[in-house]
Amino acid sequence: MSEQNNTSKPKSSRGRRAAWISLFAAFVVGILFWGGFNTAMEATNQEQFCISCHEMKVNVYQEYRDTIHYTNRTGVRATCPDCHVPKDWVHKFVRKVQATSELYHHFKGDVDTPEKFEANRFRLAQNVWTAMKETDSRECRNCHEFDSMDYTKQESRSSQGHQDAEDAGLTCIDCHKGIAHQLPMEYDPEQDVPGKSVFYTKRD
C-alpha cells in the first residue's frame, strides 16, 4: 500500500510537471504567434507597404504629397494608415480582413493605370466617405476632437463652422472631403451641402 503510494506519487508529480511544461510551452507559442501576427499586421500598416503597390504610389500618394497631412510647419504627419485604418484592434482587424478584397483587385489589375483609377475614383471615394460618415469620422478623431478644439484660437469662419457642425451633429467628412486626395470629376460642391449631401451611398 505504502509502496504503491510511493510509486504513484512520483508518477502523478511527473504528470503534473508535464502538464505545467506543456502549458508553459503553449503560453510561449501563444505569445510568439500573437506577437508574430500583430507584427505582420503592423507591417502592413506602414506607408511604405501601402505605396509598394503601384496603384497607390502613382495615384493617391502623389496627390497626398501636396497636402498639409504630408508636409507642414511642425512636421507632424498623418500617413495612409492613420486615416484609412482604425487604431483599435477589433476595428483594425475587421478592416484588414476587408482589405483582402483590395488584394484581389490589385492582382486582377482593376485600377492599375491612372485612367482606370480615374474611371473608378467616384465610386471608390464614395465608399470612403460613406465609411467615414458611418463611423463618425473615427480615424480623423484620433487626432482632431471637437472637445479638444480651442475655438478662440481658430479663424472666425472655422470657429463658427465647427461650433455649428457640432450643434448639428455633423461629422468631419461632411465638410472636409478631398483634403488629402483629389476630388472626383463628378463631385459637385453644390450637391454637398453639409447634412444634405447626395454623396453618401450604400457601400458595394
Binding site: E155, Q182, L183, P189, Q191
Partner: protein
C-alpha cells in the same frame, strides 16, 4: 526647312535674351526683382478679416477676407463654390456669387456659373498685411 529652323533658333534666342534682360531690369516698388521669391511681403500670412474689406468703387470685385491656400480652382473643382454657390451660401453663411456671374458675354442668363467667371482669383484677391506702396485714391464707399 533649314531657313525655318534658323528662324526658330533666332526667335528662341531673342525670347530667352529678352526674358533675362527684363527679369534683371524690372524691379518691384519694394526694391526686389519681381521674380524674387524671398521678398518677405510674399511670405506674409493672408489676413482673416471678419466682415470683409470695404470696396473702393462701385462694382469693384470684393477682396477675399480669408486665407484661400487650402482651396483649389482647377478642372475638377472650384473650392470657392463650396461656400459661395447658390446652393450653399445660406448654410455656410457666406456671400453668394453675384447675379452678374451667371450672364454670358451677350448678357444671356445661364443656369450655371458662367465659364468666364469660373476662375474667382482672376478678379478677387486675398490680402496680406503688407504696407501699401501706392496710396489708394479711391474713397471708401
Amino acid at each position: 526647312m533649314s531657313r525655318g529652323f534658323v528662324a526658330l533658333l533666332f526667335g528662341t534666342a531673342a525670347v530667352c535674351l529678352s526674358g533675362t534682360v527684363w527679369a534683371a531690369d524690372v524691379e518691384s516698388l519694394r526694391g526686389h526683382a519681381v521674380t524674387d521669391s524671398s521678398d518677405p511681403a510674399l511670405n506674409k500670412a493672408t489676413l482673416a478679416v471678419p466682415g470683409g474689406f470695404g470696396v473702393g468703387w462701385e462694382e469693384q470685385p470684393p477682396m477675399i477676407p480669408h486665407p484661400i491656400d487650402k482651396y483649389s480652382i482647377d478642372l475638377r473643382q472650384n473650392g470657392c463654390l463650396k461656400c459661395h454657390s447658390q446652393a450653399t451660401f445660406e448654410t455656410a453663411n457666406a456671400p453668394r456669387v453675384a447675379e452678374s456671374h451667371f450672364l454670358d458675354r451677350d448678357g444671356k442668363k445661364l443656369d450655371r456659373l458662367a465659364p468666364r467667371r469660373y476662375f474667382c482669383t482672376q478678379c478677387h484677391a486675398p490680402q496680406t498685411g503688407a504696407m501699401p506702396l501706392v496710396d489708394n485714391v479711391f474713397g471708401e464707399r
